[in-house]
Assembly symmetry: C2
Homo-oligomer: 248 residues x 2
């Protein structure tokens, strides 16, 4: 299994021009989109539909009146002329009572951009530290030929926490003997994770996204929440416009 | 001093749209463009003119008949209808006897692209492991506000050795107390270097560029050559189309 990593959002446009027919993509947006998606599915949500813009969320809500809407701008839940969204973007809001059997539209700019850039892939997974082990086990069992880990990043920039999660994925795929070749980018992510793992919370607390969240009292606990490793046993996969628990 | 790192060539187009007026750029193309440039200057070359294409090298040669031409394609020295180039791209060819007081046109696709993307910067330096300490000392003395380290990469991909050199730069700038803030990308480069430094030759030997060079008997010694640290005391700066030794 060849492991390659997209480190920055700047690389995504070129991805859409590549033949991804034999590639399995794993999208990481640790703070917080893919952590929230994985949490919602774990707590019983039927599916999560990632969209980029508030207008898309509202349009999907009109088209599918059964869905709940999630998203934030500058840390606060979205309010529009059509009312308040059901959730912010904190994974801790997506409790079993609120999400069970529901389909949730979630606004995430970089997460959605990354997922859409992988549209031509054989399979697209959404992963986070929360379900890293489950994702690794699945990839290892299936012995896919080529795994491309896509770090969603922040605006146009690389996000430290996504690259460290990519490195953790690389390490685990090596540990179980599944990875046979690492690209330069995968080696960078791996080395960065191997250095950072001894104080992952301390390291990630210096990242741009973590600093932003830690400065908002209601959201600061999200950082620690999203760094929990292997607490969710499911694999999340994109099917059409929906991300669902993968049955395998 | 804020330290930021451009990890991948995909980020270069956006760089040309940024206001770089207060930014000092440090371009790294460890295997081998900036290592070769630094070596040529150390051995007495008056200047090095980086160009992307063989046709540009030939055109510059016609415009400035005093220049020598350097470059390779697939490891071998370039031969055209107008004759053979004076040098390949191995830094070991750029000996004092051959380069003293000469201006050399050197073809390097990624190196040139990176240098040109920095055109609007306050200052553009070319650096490598060979002159890393001298470059760090200069940056530290001048206490620039914002240093952007630009990893030239390979084709459209990140190059491990460039990112590790960027990490070494970050570490040294922290060590001398010059760096006050590291972007996420700088933190990634730093962590990767801190992990890799204990076996830098071993780590870099697994990179795409190193593997390519190590497979060519005449070029394999270039890898070890380019990983020598702090053996050259000069700072190399872009002035117009030429890279020259910086007097300061």
């Amino acid at each position: 299994m060849i492991i390659d990593v997209i480190l920055t959002p700047a690389e995504l446009p070129a991805l859409t021009e590549r033949d991804l027919g034999r590639v399995v993509c794993v999208v990481l947006d640790v703070l917080r989109a893919t952590s929230t998606i994985v949490t919602a599915l774990q707590n019983g949500a039927a599916a999560v539909i990632p969209v980029s813009e508030i207008s898309e969320a509202l349009e999907t809500g009109r088209r599918r009146p059964d869905v709940l809407l999630g998203g934030e701008r500058k840390g606060v839940k979205i309010r529009t002329a059509e009312g308040e969204f059901d959730f912010g973007n904190s994974p801790r809001e997506y409790t079993p009572e609120k999400v069970r059997d529901k389909t949730i539209v979630s606004t995430t700019t970089n997460g959605t951009r990354a997922l859409r850039a992988c549209a031509g892939a054989r399979l697209v997974l959404a992963a986070s530290f929360l379900n890293l082990g489950a994702t690794v086990n699945y990839l290892g069992e299936k012995r896919f030929e080529y795994v491309l880990i896509v770090c969603a990043g922040t605006r146009e920039n690389v996000a430290l926490e996504d690259v460290l999660a990519a490195g953790a994925l690389c390490e685990s795929l090596l540990d179980i003997g599944a990875a046979t070749e690492l690209s330069d980018s995968a080696q960078i992510a791996l080395a960065a994770f191997e250095k950072a793992q001894w104080d992952l919370p301390g390291t990630i607390s210096k990242s741009e996204n973590a600093r932003r969240l830690l400065a908002i009292p209601e959201l600061s606990a999200d950082v620690e929440f999203c760094l929990q490793r292997d607490v969710v046993a499911l694999v999340a996969a994109l099917k059409g416009e929906e991300i669902k628990r993968l049955d395998f």
